[in-house]
């Protein structure tokens, strides 16, 4: 990661009639980093991505990519970015390989070069043996990998991944994560959106958390967890007396009641909950590491995956 700013947004706003999808957000993405937009469905992540990729006009604010203004120089910007959209928009009429060849044409890539690059990319996403298969016969994970390969056809400097693993099984997800890491090693700047905490924690160096169109927090995933949710979280079954006891024991802590469970967040260092559990016994008590989802819960009072 360098200090060169590649994407810069200031007061970026998008309104659809009277609904504000993105509300005055500002952020910077540096060359070579993996930057995450985290938030629940409808937070404004995809809308933000669509403005970065120059397909959605801004309502107000400014947005530049590699020093170029998205409103005036959309065509030039689109040449240097790759987009893996959230939805499956592969061409069902073509084979796997032909999907890449046709897409290369939109970037004016000469045929021989497109062919070579397509074959390489299919190998990279481990679809080499599927090159002549029709799209319908691919699994969801294979489709995601092909969309990833397609987004790389123009050797982009910036890769936009909109929910790259939503709906995939764990194996398929890990395969995509491996590919994303190896692209980052090659120096590609990656901007991804996700509503999976784990994904952001695994891949992103910096994240912003969005909710209702606003950025409500930003920083390194681990720092955010530490800052807002501490190191450990105590979870116990809900009980009137237990709740009172916990409130008295941890007066500075934040207690969340989620369904039939109580969650306790503190700034204490690791071990304080273990001591309590050694002294008292609560029904179905458990101590776990704090994670980004706790951060989100604490910041918004809402579950992320709703």
């Amino acid at each position: 990661m360098s200090s060169e700013v590649l994407i810069k947004a200031e007061g970026l706003t998008k309104k659809f009639e009277d609904f504000t999808a993105v509300d005055q957000i500002s952020f910077q993405v540096y060359r070579g980093e993996c930057f995450g937009f985290l938030g629940p469905n409808g937070a404004g992540k995809t809308t933000t991505m669509q403005m970065v990729q120059c397909v959605l006009p801004l309502t107000s604010g400014s947005l530049s990519v590699s020093g170029m203004d998205v409103t005036r120089e959309g065509r030039e910007i689109k040449k240097m970015i790759g987009v893996a959209s959230q939805e499956d928009n592969l061409d069902p009429d073509f084979t796997v390989l032909h999907n890449l060849i046709v897409y290369a044409r939109y970037f004016d890539i000469p045929k021989a070069q497109a062919q070579k690059r397509a074959e390489e990319l299919l190998k990279f996403v481990q679809l080499g043996d599927k090159r002549d298969v029709i799209i319908d016969q691919l699994s969801a994970g294979m489709k995601r990998r092909l969309i990833l390969a397609r987004s790389l056809i123009n050797e982009p400097q910036i890769l936009i991944l909109d929910e790259p693993t939503t709906g995939l099984d764990p194996q398929a997800r890990h395969l995509i994560w491996d590919k994303i890491r190896s692209l980052q090693k090659q120096g590609v700047t990656i901007v991804l959106t996700t509503h999976y905490m784990e994904e952001a924690a695994q891949l992103c160096e910096r994240t912003v958390i969005m909710d209702y169109g606003k950025i409500i927090e930003e920083g390194r995933p681990l720092d955010l967890v530490k800052k807002h949710a501490g190191e450990e979280v105590l979870e116990v079954a809900w009980d009137e007396e237990v709740l009172k006891f916990l409130k008295d024991t941890f007066p500075e802590a934040k207690l969340e009641i989620l369904g039939d469970r109580i969650q306790v967040f503190t700034n204490h260092t690791r071990g304080v909950f273990t001591e309590i559990l050694n002294k008292y016994s609560f029904r179905s008590a458990m101590i776990r590491d704090a994670n980004l989802e706790d951060v989100f819960l604490k910041l918004t009072g809402r579950r992320l995956k709703e």
Binding site: F16, V55, K79, L90, D91, D93, F94, R105, Y106
Partner: protein
């Protein structure tokens, strides 16, 4: 404010050679299933010529001085221009836009939305050219072409296809869902199919209907031109027919692109 909104519907789009990339994508899909695609325009006119031309033609007096089968033959060519391009840019474009999300995939590349739509319109025009040329071949084989000017029909088919594609794309831009294409099909295409001098001369119709046909039904003008080029019979009316098409085509071409922009880029 109002004039500004109206002006936005007629903003001349910025287009580049990239429209042909979109056109080529559609051509490649078409060629994958070319056998299925070539059969209907080959067989349909045979049914019409045999059924209506020989069958019904035995009961019908000559229309505009032509034996019935020779009267309807050029109309079949004109109708195929309308059907192929109109349905390409309604149902087929809607499937690409809405179900396959093809437009969304393309505009993430240096190709703009205006170019995607223009490429779709050129493809619709190409479908008109392909299908009507096949129908023309059948008509020719039946010995119903009597002027060498019939060679001008394919270029006319491209122009006419562009017009119907653009009109179709206007509906595609405003339709809430694919089922709603029933409205333009039954309220616009079907009356045109019947009332444009296709299967009987419009002279037999009430005067009010004749006026409506001439002013508002593009197929009326297409049939007149196609018939003239097939049999080599010319009147000054043809200038009006051609002018109507030449004015309407750029009008709807530009309008349809701006309507689609309003639908897809908000």
């Amino acid at each position: 404010m109002r004039t500004k909104v109206v002006a936005s519907y007629f903003q001349v789009p910025e287009l580049s050679y990239r429209i042909w990339r979109v056109w080529r994508r559609n051509l490649e899909v078409f060629m994958k299933t070319y056998r299925v695609n070539f059969f209907p325009p080959l067989l349909e006119p045979i049914f019409y010529l045999v059924g209506l031309g020989f069958g019904l033609g035995g009961f019908v007096q000559p229309q505009e001085g032509l034996p019935y089968i020779a009267f309807i033959a050029p109309a079949l060519v004109a109708i195929s221009m309308m059907f192929s391009s109109f349905f390409e840019c309604t149902y087929a474009s809607f499937v690409r836009m809405y179900y396959q999300k093809t437009f969304g995939a393309i505009i993430a590349t240096p190709v703009s939305l205006e170019e995607v739509i223009a490429g779709e319109l050129l493809w619709g025009a190409t479908k008109s050219l392909i299908n009507s040329t096949i129908v023309l071949g059948v008509v020719f084989a039946f010995g119903l072409v009597s002027s060498p000017l019939f060679l001008l029909i394919p270029p006319l088919a491209f122009l006419v296809g562009l017009l119907f594609s653009a009109m179709a794309m206007c509906f595609t831009a405003i339709t809430p869902n694919i089922d709603s294409f029933n409205y333009p099909s039954f309220l616009f295409i079907t009356p045109m199919f019947i009332l444009s001098g296709t299967f009987f001369s419009t002279h037999n119709l009430p005067e009010a209907v004749q006026i409506v046909s001439k002013l508002f039904l593009p197929l009326y003008h297409v049939v007149a031109l196609t018939r003239a080029l097939t049999i080599g019979r010319f009147t000054t009316n043809l200038l009006f027919n051609l002018s109507w098409i030449l004015v309407a085509t750029p009008f709807f071409f530009i309008l349809s692109i701006n309507l689609m922009k309003r639908r897809l880029i908000r």
